[in-house]
């Protein structure tokens, strides 16, 4: 905001480089163990163990590799985690279960043993989700997404919602097609959203106070026209434990305030006795808005050789209507050809400069296919 900017200007005019390094006696009595473990029914028990360090200590974080981490259910040990690498411990075969109360206990020589308790709440499912494209008052495209889901009336529920788009990409070194999910940055001014000041990777968080027992509907937006970029958007609805919710909300507040000396600092929620960190369960459900496209199929490339600047025709199926792009092998790795004409079944492409012989890749915006044959680029 304009105002904030001015307030800072004025402050800095007056802040006549009066810096003084001071020794403040911030007590750091003894290092304590820090454990971080998030769990849901789909994954093996995992936890990371480290120790905290004095604020003026700049050495890399010390991870604890010789600790003992045991999961308890009602005081009965159910699993002992084994160290994998870098202070991360994992169960060999045990997965957490719904509706059970778990306790994690960790110990390592020299340090006080620590413990924390949490549970996995019952999942909720998305009943409806849609996306509408619009233009903001200052003329930028935005997508408004509305998600509805059921809420259990008997308990206080905490939710996390984030959006992901699945994208495929070509490894430039090996030419192998890989896929990953990237999260979309969303924001919301819906009154039921609690962290609407925080725009972040973690999406939005809400509590069921405004819709307990009914159907929760939340709307939020992304700053670009997503449905044009991504044919399918995956909505992840997490029903999270209160620990998880408090941890994420205070974590975002902490990050927002920690680099502003005038803001009141925020301690991040922790539920670990005698130490730091978080032990928190959640459950997850997914919903797909739009359709995951079928993978394109290349049936023919004519002609099978050409020089940069020549036009070729690729025929096949499931090409994106207007969103296709074509990749050639090139110098140094990959180059993109100019698509001159595009329909679902036929593409006309100009061979780019620096293209070299190799497979041709066709993408329809979400999925990529490599040609069976090698295209030959002649000098």
């Amino acid at each position: 905001m304009v105002m904030k900017k001015y307030a800072w200007y004025v402050l800095f005019i007056f802040l006549t480089a009066c810096e003084l390094i001071v020794d403040i006696d911030v007590p750091f009595k003894e290092a304590q163990l820090t454990i971080n473990s998030f769990f849901n029914t789909d994954s093996l028990w995992t936890a990371s163990l480290s120790i905290n360090q004095g604020i003026l200590d700049t050495s890399p974080a010390r991870r604890i590799e010789n600790g003992l981490i045991i999961i308890y259910e009602e005081d009965i040990p159910v699993d002992t985690l084994t160290h994998v690498v870098n202070g991360v411990y994992r169960s060999d075969d045990e997965k957490p279960m719904l509706g059970r109360a778990y306790e994690i206990r960790a110990s390592a020589s020299e340090y006080k043993p620590i413990s924390g308790r949490s549970y996995i709440p019952m999942p909720s499912s998305v009943t409806k989700a849609d996306i509408t494209e619009s233009i903001t008052i200052d003329g930028y495209p935005e997508s408004v997404i509305r998600v509805s889901f059921t809420d259990d009336p008997l308990v206080t529920n905490y939710y996390q919602i984030f959006l992901e788009a699945e994208q495929e990409w070509i490894d430039p070194f090996t030419g192998v097609i890989k896929s990953n999910r990237s999260r979309l940055t969303i924001e919301s001014d819906d009154p039921i959203v609690q962290n609407n000041d925080i725009i972040g990777y973690d999406g939005i968080f809400l509590r069921d106070i405004l819709f307990n027992g009914g159907e929760g509907t939340v709307s939020f937006k992304t700053s670009s026209s997503n449905s044009a970029f991504y044919p399918a958007i995956i909505v992840t609805l997490r029903t999270v434990s209160e620990d998880f919710y408090n941890f994420k909300i205070t974590g975002a507040l902490h990050d927002n305030s920690s680099d502003n000396p005038f803001a009141q600092p925020v301690n991040v929620y922790k539920n670990i006795d005698n130490g730091f960190g978080i032990f928190a369960g959640y459950s997850e459900s997914h919903f797909t808005i739009g359709q995951i496209s079928e993978r394109p199929v290349i049936t023919a490339i004519t002609p099978l050789k050409g020089k940069p600047g020549d036009h070729i025709i690729i025929t096949g199926e499931n090409f994106g209507d207007g969103f296709s792009y074509v990749i050639f092998k090139g110098i140094p790795y990959l180059v993109e050809g100019s698509v001159m004409r595009s329909t679902k079944g036929e593409l006309e492409v100009r061979i780019p400069p620096k293209a070299i012989s190799g497979k041709i890749y066709v993408s329809n915006g979400s999925k990529i296919t490599a040609s069976e044959v090698e295209f030959e680029v002649i000098e």
Partner: protein, 783 residues
């Protein structure tokens, strides 16, 4: 409660059982200027009875039929002795002569309102001459910065003009300018207060033992009276300083009947900087910042018994940046204009009618208007002409917030006999709160308004108090303040008993105790707590109730040979219903209701204040020491644990001295010392978790752990300011030069602490300071 009725009944009875008595009344004024003298003493040395003038210089004194002497005195003025036979009710108006500089001789032995004899506690008035004589930051005399030098008052952060009285925030101060509340008393983001010392006649700070006539805020009352204008002679004064220049003119419109005063002040950084900016950008850009204040007052005597005043204040701050670009070639002609502005200010006006109803009853009816408004706006326009088509585009956004009051007030002073001084009256205030409106308009979009949560509220109170001399040793001021507030169909009421009293142990020493309850129906939402114009005034609502305070104090007052005054006061204060922003709340997000962004909690404050003052003489000034504790408790802040208030300062020392060794030479200094302010600092760091962590690739970031809120102390704050003034008579009047330095020994006082790295690459805490040694020079004149 029952004792209170008893006292009230007692005081009424005692009015009737008296010998034949008559009343002397009238007003006490400055002989030369006709300015009212507030708090002047009228004393009968034979009966050892006395009274003081009220806020309008009016007194009423009932004595037994006799030939009587009256000694009339006021600090810094030559006392007058009047002798006459009191055989009927008499009106005597007395003018006192200002004893220009060497006041010592004059004051010795005079009977001023002696501190040990007043039933009031926690009240300090600082002579205006002293305010002007003390060193001023950048040469700009500031009433609030002098009040900060009193025990029990904290200055907040460096350079700020905010007042934190006995652990309360600046929002808990009732700042009255001629009886009108001023909502935002700061200029330049809090570095200067809005009160122009040249236009002020009297300043009084009450920090405890509140008399029943005051209400509506928890912690302090700062009652400022504007000058009325010289009724006899046209004159003026002014100054030219580094920051601002001031000019005040006053004089009679009709001699002895109507007078006026008009006083203005303006900064001129922008006037100097603007041409440079303009030149360096070929006239394409303009930017600047200024503030101004304008005070005006007219008073008119309708007849001997009725007087009308009209007073007004307007002040504004404005920061702006404007740019204009034009681009032209053979195809295209485009013009771009952009304006940004940031503005805030107060307007207050009061019309007042003083009337001497009978010689024992004085009435004062006031109608007031007060508003504070803050506004940021941005405009942009583009006109493009291409061949034969012209298109233009514009947008305009504006954010504003504010508060507006209309009020009507009646105050009556009834002085049946010298043992009683009864005050009663009431007030009705209509508030309109506009806590944040965003409007938007552009070529494509019509007027769009967001967050216009206008709230109207009605606040009212009635009060009655009696300053009652029960025995020569025992005097009490007992009263009751009853107030109510309606907002959004919700009605809040509160009955606030007030009592304070003194018991004379010896003629020079008295014990004092007091108890007061205060209710505040409005809240100030402050994001950083340093008094930025973005702070929002909001009403108590159905969800967020009013604030209450309970304050008890006890102390001793000692008057040493009428030269030195010593007071010791201890106090304990509880506050409830305090409002703070939630952790990390975004105060600029107008689309959300402020009520969802605040936490409500409690606070307390206790301590002892020592104060030694010498008001007159070659060397005058004071020394104050405060030992205090201030805490806050909020259910949802700091895990519900009690934490020290940001301005909790264990030890606090203040010294202010003016030394005038020759009639025209004056040296003054102030020294302040305060224990370090409370601050929250990170203690350690620890890794934070990532869901579905891949042990081979992902690395985790880390969180800082801060421990408890405000659990560390910054280094102590101390600072010496000095000033030297030389005055010379000239053909046209008088001129003086002042030179001074702020932070004379260049103490690097802590402003905030941040983490950084030293040259060796070690992580360290770095303390940032705001003001190094700052010299100043000011030229003042009077004609």
């Amino acid at each position: 409660m029952r004792t209170l009725y008893f006292i009230a009944a007692l005081s009424l009875i005692s009015c009737f059982v008296q010998a034949q008595k008559f009343t002397v009344n009238g007003s006490i004024k400055d002989l030369k200027t006709g300015e009212n003298l507030i708090g002047a003493t009228i004393f009968n040395p034979r009966t050892l009875q006395g009274t003081t003038t009220n806020t309008y210089g009016f007194y009423s004194f009932t004595q037994i039929r006799d030939s009587i002497y009256l000694r009339v005195s006021y600090v810094g003025y030559e006392p007058v002795l009047v002798k006459f036979i009191l055989s009927k009710d008499t009106t005597i108006n007395i003018g006192l002569n200002y004893s220009s500089t060497l006041k010592e001789v004059v004051v010795t032995g005079s009977s001023d309102d002696k501190i040990q004899e007043s039933s009031q506690m926690g009240t300090i008035d600082v002579p205006l001459e002293q305010i002007k004589a003390l060193p001023a930051f950048l040469g700009e005399v500031d009433v609030f910065k002098v009040l900060q030098l009193l025990p029990g008052v904290q200055a907040g952060s460096e350079g700020s003009s905010g007042l934190y009285v006995r652990g309360g925030g600046p929002d808990q101060n009732l700042i009255l300018l001629d009886g009108v509340p001023v909502y935002n008393a700061s200029h330049l983001f809090g570095f200067f207060s809005v009160f122009n010392a040249d236009a002020i006649n009297h300043v009084e700070l009450t920090k405890g033992g509140f008399p029943a006539r005051y209400g509506g805020r928890l912690s302090a009352v700062i009652d400022i009276n504007m000058k009325e204008g010289d009724a006899n002679k046209f004159k003026g004064e002014g100054s030219i300083g580094l920051v601002a220049s001031r000019l005040t003119v006053e004089g009679p419109i009709k001699k002895d009947k109507t007078s006026f005063i008009i006083s203005g002040r303006r900064t001129y950084i922008d006037v100097l900087a603007s041409p440079m900016i303009k030149k360096s950008t070929n006239g394409e850009e303009r930017a600047g910042y200024y503030f101004y204040d304008l005070n005006a007052k007219i008073n008119h005597s309708i007849n001997k018994k009725n007087k009308i005043y009209l007073s007004a204040y307007a002040g504004n701050d404005k920061a702006y940046a404007e740019s204009q670009y034009a681009y032209k070639n053979e195809f295209r002609n485009s013009q771009n204009e952009e304006n940004l502005s940031l503005r805030w200010g107060n307007i207050t006006t009061a019309i007042r009618w003083n009337s001497i109803v009978t010689n024992k009853l004085f009435s004062n009816v006031t109608a007031t208007y007060s508003q504070y408004k803050f506004r940021v706006s941005a405009d942009a326009m583009e006109i493009v002409t291409e061949q034969d088509s012209t298109r233009s585009e514009f947008y305009h956004t504006e954010y504003s917030s504010g508060i507006r009051d209309f009020a009507m007030k009646v105050d009556l002073d009834y002085i049946p006999n010298p043992n009683h001084f009864i005050k009663f009256g009431g007030q009705v205030i209509h508030h309109r709160f506009t806590p944040g409106v965003l409007t938007y308009r552009s070529t494509e979009v019509q007027d769009t308004t967001l967050g216009a949560q206008v709230t109207d509220a009605l606040e009212f109170f009635v009060y009655a108090e009696d300053d009652f001399l029960i025995t020569p040793r025992l005097k009490i001021n007992a009263g009751i303040h009853a107030s109510g507030f309606t907002v959004e169909n919700k009605f809040y009421k509160s009955l606030q008993p007030r009592i304070s009293g003194r018991y004379l142990i010896t003629p020079d020493v008295s014990w004092k105790i007091s108890y007061a309850q205060m209710t505040q129906y409005i809240h100030l939402l402050s994001n950083v707590g340093i008094g930025l114009p973005t702070d929002l005034w909001v009403p108590a609502t159905a969800k967020v109730g009013p604030e209450n305070a309970y304050l008890a104090s006890m102390g001793l007052a000692y008057n040493l040979r009428n030269k030195y005054e010593f007071t010791v006061e201890s106090y304990y204060k509880e506050m409830e219903g305090l409002v703070e922003y939630k952790d990390g709340a975004d105060y600029l997000n107008v689309e959300n209701d402020w009520q969802t962004k605040v936490e409500v909690g409690e606070g307390n404050s206790y301590g002892v204040e020592f104060f030694a003052q010498k008001k007159t003489g070659k060397l005058s000034g004071w020394v104050g020491y405060t030992l205090s504790w201030t805490n806050r408790t909020f259910e949802n802040l700091n895990g519900g644990k009690t934490f020290p208030y940001r301005y909790d300062r264990r030890h606090d020392v203040k010294v202010a001295a003016v030394y005038q060794w020759k009639k025209n030479r004056e040296f003054s200094l102030t020294w302040v010392y305060g224990s370090g302010a409370a601050v929250t600092l990170p203690q350690s760091t620890y890794l934070h978790g990532v869901e579905n962590r891949n042990p081979y690739f992902e690395t985790e970031g880390s969180f800082q752990y801060y421990g408890d809120r405000n659990s560390y102390r910054m280094r102590a704050y101390h600072r010496l300011d000095i000033s030297y003034t030389t005055t010379k008579k000239t053909k046209w009047g008088e001129r003086s030069w002042s030179i001074g330095t702020y932070n004379t020994y260049n103490r690097r006082n802590p402003f905030f602490i941040d983490l950084s790295y030293d040259q060796m690459g070690n992580k360290k805490f770095v303390q940032y300071s705001l003001f190094p040694i700052i010299p100043s020079v000011a030229y003042r004149f009077k004609f």
